[in-house]
């Protein structure tokens, strides 16, 4: 599904040039659940952003289902994100001005779909993560765990093929973290490919494969014994 070849990412400011990623080669098959681990600043989130096409590599090839998306124009990428990707962030990234229901519906906002179908899908996604009763609340009225479940509902409402999760449990207590991991495992079991950045070895263990990174490079990529 995903094939990265010698992907690099440089950040340039006026005086400093920082290398975030160097020569990354990575292949992820459809249906995999991959955890990316490594110390802070090793390039995990940058890699995830490039995988999610919300950042572009400085160099290298990125094939998504056979298409080289590294050089696709912005409208094509927007379409890719809209139709095939779902995002879950550490800080939830819900929009304060919108209700939970509206936040979840945002996952379908840019698709051409009858509004009835949209409504049904939003309801199903919220049911799925257990926050249907919070539909009319605003994000700040919810606990962290509930907010993250809402963010997951938003990520899955469009039935994406790939879910990218950037430390989805990083801001949660143990119990809420476990709930979120449970949902992700179920989604993977239903066929979604998941790539997750995490600091938690326990949560990494839940994934089928763990990729270890250091200083912008991949150290090891180990598959968990079945």
């Amino acid at each position: 599904m995903i094939h990265l070849e010698r992907i690099s990412r440089l950040f340039r400011s006026d005086e400093v040039e920082t290398t975030a990623l160097t020569d990354i080669d990575l292949t992820v098959e459809a249906g995999e659940f991959v955890a990316i681990m490594g110390p802070s600043g090793c390039g995990k989130s940058t890699l995830l952003n490039i995988l999610g096409t919300i950042d572009r590599p400085t160099d290298g090839r990125y094939l998504f289902e056979g298409d080289d998306v590294a050089k696709e124009p912005e409208p094509e990428l927007a379409r890719l994100r809209r139709d095939r990707l779902g995002f879950v962030f550490q800080s939830f990234n819900l929009i304060d001005e919108l209700t939970i229901g509206e936040n979840v519906a945002l996952g379908l906002a840019y698709r051409n779909m009858p509004s009835k179908e949209k409504r049904e899908r939003v309801d199903a996604a919220m049911d799925r993560v257990g926050i249907a009763h919070r539909r009319n609340h605003h994000p700040h009225q919810l606990s962290g765990g509930q907010q993250q479940r809402a963010a997951i509902a938003r990520a899955i409402v469009g039935s994406p093929k790939l879910i990218l999760a950037d430390e989805p449990t990083g801001n949660l207590d143990t119990e809420n973290g476990a709930q979120v991991m449970e949902i992700l495992t179920e989604l993977n079991a239903e066929g979604a490919t998941i790539i997750m950045v995490t600091h938690s070895p326990a949560h990494a263990d839940i994934a089928k494969r763990t990729v270890h990174m250091l200083d912008g490079r991949i150290l090891t990529s180990a598959r968990r014994a079945a």
């Binding site: 919300i54 950042d55 409208p75 927007a78 809209r82 990707l85 995002f87 001005e97 840019y110 698709r111």
Partner: protein, 818 residues
Amino acid sequence: MSSTLLTLYRSLTRHKLYALLSIGGLALGIAVFLVLFLYVQFERSYDKVLPGHDKIWAVSNTWHLPGAPETPYFSTMGALLDQLKGDFPQVNGTRFWTFSGATVVRGPNATNEMMALVDPNYFDLFPFSTIAGDPKAALRDPTSVVITKKMATKYFGASDAIGQPMTIVLDGKSFAYHVGAVIEDRPKNMSYTADLIAPLVPARLDAADTRYFSHWGSSQLQTFLSFDNAAEPKALEAQMPSFIDRHGVTDQGPDLHKMLSIGFTPLGDVHLFDPADKAVVATLGIVGALTLLIAIVNYINLATARAGLRAREVAIRKVMGGSRRALVRQFVGEAIATVALAALIGLALAEVALPLVNSTGGTSLAIDYWGGHSILPPLVILVVVVGLLAGAYPALMLSHYRPATVLASSRSPGGGRAGSRLRQTLVVLQFAIAIAFMIGTGVLVAQTQHLRNANLGFQREGMVVVPSFGDGSLDEAQRRELLTAFAALPGVTGVTHAMDAPGDDSVTNANNMHRPGDKGSPPSIVTVDVGPQFFQVYAARLLAGRFLDPSHALDDFTDVPEAALQRTAYNVVINQAAAARLGFASAQDAIGKIVIQGRERGGDGDPVRVVGVIDDVRFHSPHEPVRPTMYYFYRHDSWPQIAAIRFAGTNAQTLTAQLQRTWKQIAPAVPFKSQTVDQKLYDNYYKPDDQRSHLFTIGAVLAVLIGCIGLYGLASFDTARRVKEIGIRKTLGASTGDVLKLLIGQFLKPVLIANLIAWPLAYFAMRKWLSGFDDRIALSPLFFLAATLIALAIACATVFSQAWRVARAEPARALRYE
């Protein structure tokens, strides 16, 4: 305080764009307000600069005649004051008679000056600062003249003017005066003063021909009465109908009070007596006030929007032990200091703009810093009030937050829903005013254009009028010689003369006329004597019949004895308005018909026969309807007439120079006065509207500009606040177009809502304004649509650059943004 100023300085220099937008916008608003406020004050100050103006009332005549506008005229018959004094011994008053054509003769040079003949007590009612001599004593000497400082310098230079001789030609008669006193120059906002002021001695003047000087129905001069309180003129006004009937019966027949009324108006109200003038001045005042309001709204909007971004600073200050009161003080202090800076810049902008406004508007506006009319106290109040308004909301809102919440939150509070709703409402208000201004400007400019291009019933281009042709000093031979010489000049295609001409030099006579057998009240028809080729030279449009022509014996009124006129119907041409007033079904219907002139003193007047009907010819103000007019042909005439010259293949400047040369050869003692018809119409009738429409347009453009500054500032804050949200949306698949639509659409909504307020407002205001014109454009919906489209386009353009930048950014960068 010094820490407040330091924080302010740093905040302004750090957020340069914000500082430019908020301070610049407010400064511009203050400048527009100041200039328009001074203009309104100037217009309203007319004649009120005179000490004791509140004890003076101007006498007006209003004619109630069918077919003629009922406009009060502030000019009266010369002997009115004497007759009033005769009937009402308590009346105290003075007369003022201007001669714009007074000629000062110095050796070979003759110069036209503005002269007034007044009663000896003039300076009791109209006191002026004296520079030399005794003006009051001077008016008691019939050979003495009081002159202004400007005249003294012009004619006598540095030497003492008192006692110097001056030869002045009035109405063709030369008078020897000597300077009795020198007074200060007349202020521009004084109506009844002149550069040369001499005692009024009716017996010395032809123009004061006693028949007309004391004839009811004529008017030559202004009469002013002095009263102690407002009740006195009211009481006297009640006695005017019987007074009119007592004195006017000989000239105008019985029951004259039904046709003529006499009124008294406080001197200070005369300048803006015409409701149209008053409305224009009021409108400009409103434009100024609303522009200031837009600027204030703008400033407050930007200040509150920006305050949200400072929540973190406030939280840290609180953590460090800052009390709520101290924070409120800091915010309000900053706001007042910023507004004060804007006020200073605004004052400077106004000072720069004033010379420009004065030179185009014919005003003498100036900002007073000291004294009774000082600008400083109102400006200080403005600074404090706007500073409090702009500082209070963010001060109270921010100082109310709990620091922990703010510091823990990932994003800056923007004042919540209430804050954004307040800002949206203010944007609606701003744009409502701006759109109304745009519609107003569109209508104003279109109407002004229309007046300049409208069909006046004659061809206004390629024509020069010579009003000095009517000067009383010219004799019949000179006039004939002038016409022949003018006609022979290269480029001249036609020469004519008539009592009426474009501009306000004409003498207007009117007569009540009716068709034989008509019993109703006879309409008042203006009568105009015209010379050969009048219709052809003016290129009047013939609707039916023919023009007047000396080859028809009955066309020519020259030297026809009174008895013949009573017996025989001589031929006349009338205009379309007269045909309609006289009840003819069409222009054709009038041809060959008899009209009786006058129905006074028992019997019918002389009959005339209509041989031609022309389209209405508009020589005078576009505000008033073209009056029904009857034209009489005279080969030559001793009445004051105005020459008109049609030219082609040469330009007006060359021709005017040639005309002047010719004139100097034939009539060197009479100053030559000429102007192109286009210029004359503009100066007399179109200039005030044009100037005011310029002022309005400038005000409106600046108001729209300030509105845009506000929208731009708001958009920049709003997009800055929403960068992260936009990142999320893009991550979820929103395209650049989707984001642009979202951001721009959000700002277009208030602009669209603003139309709901602006349209009816502009509709009623402009309908009222247009109703002041007889010749006016229709209030087309296009003005409204165009203003809306322009407002939307401006709003789009203003917001676009901001939205484009954010919409194009990589989502990952946006999500990192804090």
